[in-house]
Amino acid sequence: MTAPLLSLDLSVDYRNKPAALDGVRFDIFPGEVFGLVGESGSGKSTIALAVLRLVEMRGGRARGSLLFEGRNLLALKEREMRRIRGRRIALVPQSPVSALNPVLRLETHLREAWTAHAHAPWRQARPQACDLLRQMGLPADDAFLRRYPHQVSVGQAQRVLIAMAVQHRPALLIADEPTSALDPASQRDILDLLRRLNREFGMAMLYISHDLPSVAALCARVGVLENGRMAECGAPEILCPVDFQTAS
């Protein structure tokens, strides 16, 4: 059996909510899609932030161990951690509307995500980024890149965010409820896109959602969070109708 890509044993305390996560433990193997379900407030998004070591930005503190590619992320210096964010572990956020800066053009968003880790100038990387956008079914012409976030649909904005996240071909993609703000048709498209990224780039994925059918369709293994603890963990079959009611 191969070594896990991410092996996590994590507790997180917020100032006004101690033990928001209480000893949550699971592994993600290379190329695997791991699903995480649970009611709102059960700590799903906190896990996403804690893996990137950004819960401090929301006033939290993480304890435990967070082994990624053989290194404990919690022990890394901030500078080393920055080299991992966006390059080895990337995040697709929950609501595409607020995750894009309203005053910056789409191209600026892609350029910023690129230059955070690349030394090559953006002019050289631009054609690749356009290809990536085209693969995602977006019009990758100059007119589109010059648009502001409020000038594109929510589905398009979510694809731009996914493109930003996978530009550096991360080993692990965290998708934090990537479809909850979308209509059913774009939900299906985004799920297809994530499945394709997983297959083509061999990208492991932590798929957080409360849409159980999509989790069952996408994931090899599923964890159920309840009040900051891992209630169950196993094959997607554990999401049978009985659990359906407790989880949603």
């Binding site: 990137l52 950004l54 930005m57 966006g86 956020p93 309203p102 995500a113």
Partner: protein, 265 residues
């Protein structure tokens, strides 16, 4: 309403820019045989006790006030913006210390402090030096109010989803501050500028009334108000109040522009 205010400000600025052509006389020229004259075709606002043309002095004084007060406001808001960004990003003790310093600055008696600092400088400074000193004092001491508002805005934007997204993409904090947060602050900074500029116009008028603003013989809207000290005269010669009208008009236009700014955004 906002448009009317902006147009009025535009007309005033245009008139002040062309003051060299519009003004019939040199503002310092003393017409000894026409002192204290009533308005006439040659002197639309009459002349003062030294025989200087009031209309020319109003235009020239406006030029100085309307250039220097916005420049000082720009300086104050720029300082506040820089401080807000730096201390907002540093956070923790640095930010709390900075907030204390801001509170301290806001709780000082302003007029008294300006008087004290101005009194430390020699009284008989040249007019150019007096303009520079008065307005740079205002600019350097006026950062506290705007910086408090801008610091709060910086904190708000740093906690936003898009700043979090930029951190997740691996952008360093300084880059998040400059590329992602700064453009979002510009509307707030503009509104602060539109509030601060008229406040500085009025501060200069207050200082000038005490003889500590822009020095004679150079006119400013502040020191032209000294003619209003004698109240009975205003009743006899109402045109003396022209600088007051101009000042009130410009200040209310600035405030109306801010009100529109807030309603518009």
């Amino acid at each position: 309403m906002r448009r009317a205010a902006a147009i009025t400000l535009g007309i005033v600025f245009a008139a002040l820019l062309c003051a060299g052509w519009i003004a019939p006389y040199d503002p310092r020229q003393q017409l000894r045989d026409e002192t204290d004259a009533s308005p006439s075709r040659h002197h639309p606002l009459g002349t003062d006790t030294l025989g200087r043309d009031r209309f020319s002095r109003l235009l020239q004084g406006g030029r100085i006030s309307m250039l220097a007060a916005p420049a000082a406001a720009l300086l104050a808001v720029a300082l506040a913006l820089a401080a807000g960004l730096v201390f907002g990003c540093l956070g923790g003790w640095c930010e709390r210390g900075f907030a204390c310093l801001t509170d301290l600055c806001l709780s000082l008696p302003w007029l008294f402090l300006l008087l004290a600092v101005r009194a430390l400088l020699p009284l008989n400074v040249s007019p150019a030096a007096s303009i520079a000193v008065t307005f740079s004092l205002l600019g350097l001491l006026g950062w506290a109010g705007p910086s408090r508002i801008l610091l709060a805005a910086v904190k708000g934007h740093l906690a936003s989803d898009f700043a979090l997204g930029a951190r997740c993409a691996g952008c360093p904090l300084w880059r998040v501050a400059l590329v992602h947060v700064l453009p979002n602050l510009l509307p707030v900074a503009l509104a602060q500028f539109l509030v601060t500029a008229p406040a500085f116009l009025l501060s200069e008028a207050n200082l000038a009334l005490l003889g500590l603003g822009v020095a004679e013989p150079t006119p400013s809207w502040g020191n032209l108000l000294r003619e209003l000290e004698d109240f009975s005269r205003v009743a006899r010669q109402p045109w003396v109040a022209a600088p007051l009208v101009a000042l009130a008009l410009v200040v209310s236009c600035f405030h109306l522009a801010v009100a529109g700014e807030e309603a518009g955004s």
